[in-house]
Subunit: 231 residues, 2 copies
DNA sequence: TGTACATCAGTGAACGCGCGTTCACTGATGTAC
DNA sequence: TGTACATCAGTGAACGCGCGTTCACTGATGTAC
């Protein structure tokens, strides 16, 4: 064969060989951390094509440019790597929430800036959000539960913010968490729609956002007219 | 072994060999159709544990009680079987929609009966709905698109129904489809919540349904107060 | 109705391949003195 | 500062296994006469 020298590109079409370029000035710990990062990134990349559960250890190490056995220096198995991905992806989620909370607190104008923050975060961490969207329903029970717990947390933090609004202060907490749950449902659906847009239709984003804005506004209108403790 | 007669319930730990009990009075075509059915059921069962994309052909044929090579008498590959599952699962979806439409048409009391129909359908076809919920985000691009298209269809048929309501007749169609999209989002989220309930908490269902009812009611309240063509 | 032949769902052996994991190893980095 | 030893991230061979797919086959069902 013509097999020459290097663990070559391999790619489906042209994925670059993620091999670590020999960074000479690094300590052993720094190198190890960088290889770990490379493994995480490789898994994140690959799980956009097929579900994370369908990824093989060898596939990931190959994309990361290391030998399969070196995997065990970083993770016990693929499940552990998956949970690490959940952890850092929900990191993006918390970043999103923090950004929304520190933004405009004027109750009449929360929707638009919040959606802008959402778009910005999805754009900044597309692979993370794609991973969350995909594995929230499709993943292994462990991963799925971890993600759902985080979304519930997101919802209850949003409920706290809503309770602070003067107009909502008198609401029963059950109604407030019903409302925040509904808003989170719309946010999740909007995120999925943003990730689903075909790259060659840049106007799609504006459409998705207009829809989300109208829906959230309608919900807020409904909440204003809502009778506390209905039934 | 004690293998007796029927294709039994299949529990996780002690999965029985789904071998076809020799139904003597059947034609060749009938037998073939039954084997095909057994393959579909086996795949549906197995994809509750791991994503469909992670299933192997051999795994499915083993659970169905036939030899791997016999698979090719029924499907060209696993992808074709997956699309067949989408087709029949989506059949459940249409059944649901039809049931909702032929139900009460009193606009003030749509929510409760619709949710009852939803619960009934999810209970009747849990594996189908679980498959749809899982593969909607987690599946291969082909399967994902097929499911999303059906949900869009569901939404636009709901829009037609909404437009028939006297109180909505004057609404711009963009607002109506925004509303139906929002309701479908809630329905999808509710379905996921129903499928996610732990079996040992029977009261969870009532909780999920109360949440869904409140959310849909709030949305309808909001829609009533909504200014057509806002912005 | 009876016979001879065609069809074809399901079988079983075989293949080459990628899988996860084990093991002894190498050689650069880190540490003790 | 220099030397001797320890650590350990990454290597490469090897393993047994399940994978998808091929192929020639069997024998019950279906069909033509």
């Amino acid at each position: 064969v013509s097999s020459s020298s290097r663990p070559r590109p391999h790619s489906r079409s042209s994925r670059p060989p993620r091999a670590r370029p020999s960074h000479e000035g690094e300590s052993r710990d720094e190198r190890k951390a960088r290889t770990r990062r490379t493994l995480l990134d490789a898994a994140l990349d690959l799980s956009e094509q097929e579900s994370f559960g369908a990824l093989s250890l060898r596939e990931v190490t190959k994309a990361a440019g290391i030998v399969p056995t070196a995997f065990y220096r970083h993770f016990h198995d693929m499940d552990e790597l998956g949970l690490a991905l959940v952890d850092e992806s929900v990191g993006s989620l918390h970043g999103l929430l923090r950004a929304v909370r520190t933004g405009a607190i004027d109750p009449d104008h929360v929707v638009r800036p919040s959606l802008e923050v959402l778009v910005e975060h999805v754009r900044a961490h597309p692979a993370h959000f794609r991973f969350l969207a995909r594995e929230r329903s499709g993943g292994s029970p462990t991963i799925r539960q971890a993600i759902r717990r985080e979304i519930k947390l997101f919802s209850s933090e949003l409920a706290i913010d809503i309770a602070r609004f003067p107009t909502r202060a008198a609401w029963p907490s059950a109604d407030i968490s019903m409302l925040s749950d509904l808003l989170v449902t719309v946010i999740v659906a909007t995120t999925e729609a943003l990730l689903d847009m075909s790259p060659e239709r840049p106007d799609a984003e504006a459409e998705v956002l207009r829809l989300a804005r109208d829906q959230m506004t309608l919900i807020i209108v409904g909440a204003t007219a809502w009778r506390p403790s209905a039934d």
